[in-house]
């Protein structure tokens, strides 16, 4: 049972200042721990792991951990990750995004990454709020919740990340919580190991910006809320509709075995470049076709 924290220390950047910037009791540190343990359990070397983070509190995680790390622009982590994965499919590319990152400004990138099934693992740290910018409502803020920009209560409905990712075609969809860490370790490791696009929504508390305004004064209050309301999927499914209330299921939601885009592309390339295959006149056909189709079809230029 030992070696949990010391193991984490081995993966932290020793030239980076600790403690990290997160508030006391922020779940992001726990996610970082789970991520490190998962990578360690998979036996991956630090060099083959690339962490791509967006903007927001979650984006800051990248700087602390001794992998290849890229801290990108707001909402765009998955686009950078797609480029990195396609450029070097041997890398294990893991994106860390917040709910604002992944569901609002980067929502389009999320559904397309899922659709094209790029071999990237997406961790969506859902704390129901824009934490770093001061507590404005996000696309996952529950209806009725009070935030800086919904002082009279949120009227809009919240996104269900898991359902959205599944509908968009993700190869693997999981939800974990920062309280149920053993399960989280397992989910994250599975999501990293499997082919194609795998997403883990992680319920993580932000008492500073969300809890404070919504009856959860401290980090402990928020963890109690998570402990009570995150129930394993099997149990949740067995609950009568009336008893579900605020509860949300955690566990495995989708597991498909489609090949990742980078794998399909590699196979295509191998086929096209097989020795003995006649080299087609490359430049002509496509350009010619393009010109013709432009003339014949009613292609609306953007």
């Amino acid at each position: 049972m030992a070696d949990i924290t010391e193991l984490i220390h081995d993966y932290l950047r020793h030239n980076k200042k600790f403690p990290h910037v997160f508030c006391a009791g922020c779940g992001h540190g726990i996610v970082l721990g789970a991520l490190i343990r998962s990578i360690h359990a998979l036996g991956l070397s630090k060099d083959e792991v690339c962490i791509v983070a967006g903007i927001g509190c979650s984006g800051r995680i990248a700087a602390y951990v001794d992998f290849n790390t890229v801290h990108t622009t707001h909402g765009r982590a998955l686009t950078f990750a797609t480029g990195i994965k396609m450029a070097n499919p041997k890398l294990k590319v893991i994106t860390i995004m917040g709910d604002g990152d992944a569901m609002s400004i980067g929502g389009n990138h999320l559904i397309h990454a899922a659709r094209r099934n790029i071999g990237v693992t997406a961790l969506v740290l859902n704390n129901n709020i824009y934490g770093m910018t001061g507590g404005q409502c996000s696309a996952t803020t529950p209806q009725g919740a009070t935030t800086q920009t919904t002082p009279f209560g949120q009227m809009e409905k919240a996104f269900d990340i898991v359902t959205l990712a599944a509908a968009a075609g993700a190869n693997g969809v999981y939800r974990g919580s920062t309280f149920h860490v053993n399960m989280l370790d397992r989910l994250v490791a599975t999501a990293i190991e499997r082919p194609g696009f795998n997403l883990v929504e992680i319920i993580t508390p932000c008492h500073t910006q969300y809890g404070r305004k919504n009856k959860y004064k401290s980090a402990v209050d928020m963890f109690k809320w998570i402990k009570k309301n995150c129930v394993p999927k099997e149990k949740f499914d067995a609950l009568p509709e009336a008893d579900r209330g605020e509860k949300m299921p955690i566990g495995t939601f989708v597991e498909k075995d489609h090949k990742g885009l980078e794998q399909l592309y590699g196979e295509l390339q191998a086929r096209l470049n097989r020795p003995g295959r006649p080299v087609a006149e490359p430049e002509q056909p496509s350009a010619q076709h393009a010109e013709e189709s432009r003339n014949i079809m009613n292609k609306e230029p953007k």
């Binding site: 070696d3 949990i4 193991l7 600790f18 403690p19 990290h20 726990i30 309280f179 860490v181 402990v220």
Partner: protein, 89 residues
């Protein structure tokens, strides 16, 4: 869950890293930890520790280390150093 032996551990808390969030104190099943006057976590009842690992896994600041009694800090065990990764389960 099998009953765990108590008092087989040493606990180190790094005060500079601890932010005193209280998660470890609140959820420790054996009530080993407490918040000190400085607001940081401290070991109150070491003998009650059942080495469940909850505090280590849930400390967002990696500030708590629980070791078997008398054990030294082990060498780094990252895969990059050519060692077999430790099986944690």
């Amino acid at each position: 869950m099998t009953k765990k032996a108590k008092g087989q551990t040493e606990i180190t808390i790094y005060p500079d890293w601890c932010k005193g969030c209280g998660i470890c104190v609140e959820f420790c099943p054996a009530k080993v930890l407490a918040l000190g006057r400085d607001g940081k976590a401290r070991v109150a009842r070491l003998d009650e520790c059942i080495n469940c690992g909850f505090c280590e896994r849930h400390c967002p600041d990696f500030a708590i280390v629980v070791r078997g009694k008398g054990r030294k800090r082990r060498a780094p065990a990252c895969a990059e150093n050519g060692e077999t990764p430790v099986d944690k389960e």
